[in-house]
Each structure stands twice: as structure tokens, then as C-alpha cells.
């Protein structure tokens, strides 16, 4: 028991840094969180890409089923999410490259880049989806 108590008190005495919950939600913070979430979503989205590519490489009924599924409502919904995740992560990545080069850290530019990431990803997702449906 004494050992457990000692361990607990050690954990209690260790300093804690304030975490996400203590901050008022801000756009720059939301874009940062979204960058990580879209990255993780794209990670698992590769399953969809591999499935489509393997179905196409196999051909016949496998390709027909994959095509039917992706054209269905659920398939289109997944593809819309995939497209948005890819583009959001793409523009978020560009923002990180700008930061890596040492630019865009001041107060105004942080906001411009956050708004820009959101606006660019939403608009290009819609443009690409409309283009795909017109084609």
C-alpha cells in the first residue's frame, strides 16, 4: 500500500502544463487540430485507395463492385470526406512549409493563414466535386 501511495503522491507532485481545455477555442487552434485529424483520416483512407486500385487491377466483378460502391450515396459521402481531408491537409501542409521557412508567425498572418487554409480547402473541395460530377 505504502508503495502505491508513494507512487500516487509522486504523480500528484509532478507539474502539469495547462492543456487544450483551458483555452478559449480559436481558429488557429481549430486548424491545427483539424490538420492532425485529417492526417489520421487520410492514413486510414489509404485502405479505400488500395481497395480501388486492387479492384481495378483484378478487374471483372471486383472492379464493377468497387465502381458501384463509390458511385453510391455512401461511397460519394466517403469520397467527399476523403477529398476534403486531402485538401485541408494539403493547404495545412503548405502553411507548415511557410512556417518552416520562418514566415507567417506574426499576429495578423497567423489569422490570415488559418482563414486561408479553411477557405481554400472548402472551396477547392466543392470545385473538384462539381468538376467530377460534370465530367
Amino acid at each position: 500500500m505504502a508503495e502505491v501511495d508513494a507512487k500516487q503522491s509522486l504523480e500528484l507532485r509532478r507539474p502539469l502544463s495547462p492543456h487544450l481545455t483551458v483555452y478559449r477555442p480559436m481558429l488557429t487552434m481549430m486548424m491545427s487540430i483539424a490538420h492532425r485529424i485529417t492526417g489520421a483520416a487520410l492514413y486510414f483512407g489509404t485502405i479505400l485507395l488500395v481497395w480501388y486500385l486492387l479492384a481495378a487491377a483484378t478487374g471483372g466483378p471486383a472492379f464493377d463492385f468497387a465502381s458501384w460502391f463509390l458511385a453510391s450515396f455512401v461511397g460519394q459521402l466517403i469520397l467527399f470526406g476523403f477529398t476534403f481531408a486531402l485538401l485541408h491537409h494539403f493547404f495545412g501542409g503548405l502553411r507548415h512549409l511557410i512556417w518552416d521557412a520562418g514566415y507567417g508567425f506574426d499576429k495578423d498572418w497567423r489569422e490570415y493563414l488559418a482563414v486561408g487554409t479553411l477557405a481554400a480547402s472548402v472551396s477547392t473541395t466543392l470545385i473538384i466535386f462539381i468538376a467530377a460530377h460534370l465530367a
Binding site: G39, Y43, A56, F63, G93, L97, A132
Partner: protein, 130 residues
């Protein structure tokens, strides 16, 4: 074990063998290189996917008959494998605090990235070379 008076490692970190392993910048650099590579490659990927939308099997095969389709897709897949493996590991490092679980998660991450990457590369090669 004598303690370096100039070390910034905490007592708890020293006991837990935590601290710099002296090879920490490899993944950081890999992430930067693949990010730069993926800017044009992701655009190429979206372009290729848009050309494939709604195509029949014969239409898809015709797209893959062009060498650019295979070359850009393969480059996109290779850069993505490295990018997604390093990116997911930073997520696992941040959120998983159970040592044994973290080791398995990191192994699983490598196997997932390489496994699905190889499957995608195989499919592209099969589509392009037939």
C-alpha cells in the same frame, strides 16, 4: 551513476531512461522532404483520380497505359508511405502513454504503412504493365 550538473533532464526522466537519443532529427527531416514532394504529387494524384471518375474498366486501363499515370502515382504512394508513417508515429507518441502498447502501436504503424503501400504499388504496376 554520476549526474551531469549541466543536464536539463529531470530526475524522473533520468530514472525512466527518457531523454535525447541523439537521432531525433531524422523523422523531422523526412517529414519536411515528403511534405515538399507531396505538394506537386498530391495535385497530380487529384488530377489522375478526376480522370478515373466514372470510367469503365477499359477506360481505367487506358489511363494506366500512359506512363505518367503510373510514374506520378508510384511517386505519390512512396512519398505518402514515409509521410503517413512518420505522421502517425508523432500522434502515437503524443497520445499513448502505456509503454508496451506504444511499442506495439509503433510496430503496427510501420506494418500498416508498408503493407498498404506495397499493395498499392503492386496494383499500379499490374494495371500499368499489362
Amino acid at each position: 551513476m554520476s549526474h551531469d550538473p549541466f543536464s536539463i533532464r529531470s530526475a524522473a526522466g533520468r530514472v525512466g531512461f527518457l531523454g535525447a537519443a541523439k537521432t531525433g532529427t531524422g523523422d523531422l527531416w523526412r517529414m519536411r522532404v515528403t511534405t515538399v514532394a507531396l505538394v506537386p504529387l498530391a495535385i497530380a494524384f487529384v488530377w489522375i483520380v478526376l480522370r478515373l471518375v466514372g470510367k469503365s474498366e477499359a477506360g481505367v486501363r487506358a489511363e494506366f497505359a500512359h506512363p505518367c499515370t503510373a510514374i506520378f502515382l508510384l511517386l505519390f504512394i512512396l512519398a505518402s508511405i514515409v509521410h503517413m508513417r512518420v505522421g502517425m508515429q508523432s500522434i502515437l507518441d503524443d497520445y499513448i502513454h502505456t509503454p508496451r502498447l506504444k511499442e506495439w502501436a509503433i510496430i503496427g504503424n510501420s506494418l500498416f504503412s508498408i503493407g498498404f503501400g506495397v499493395a498499392a504499388i503492386f496494383a499500379v504496376l499490374k494495371l500499368s504493365l499489362y
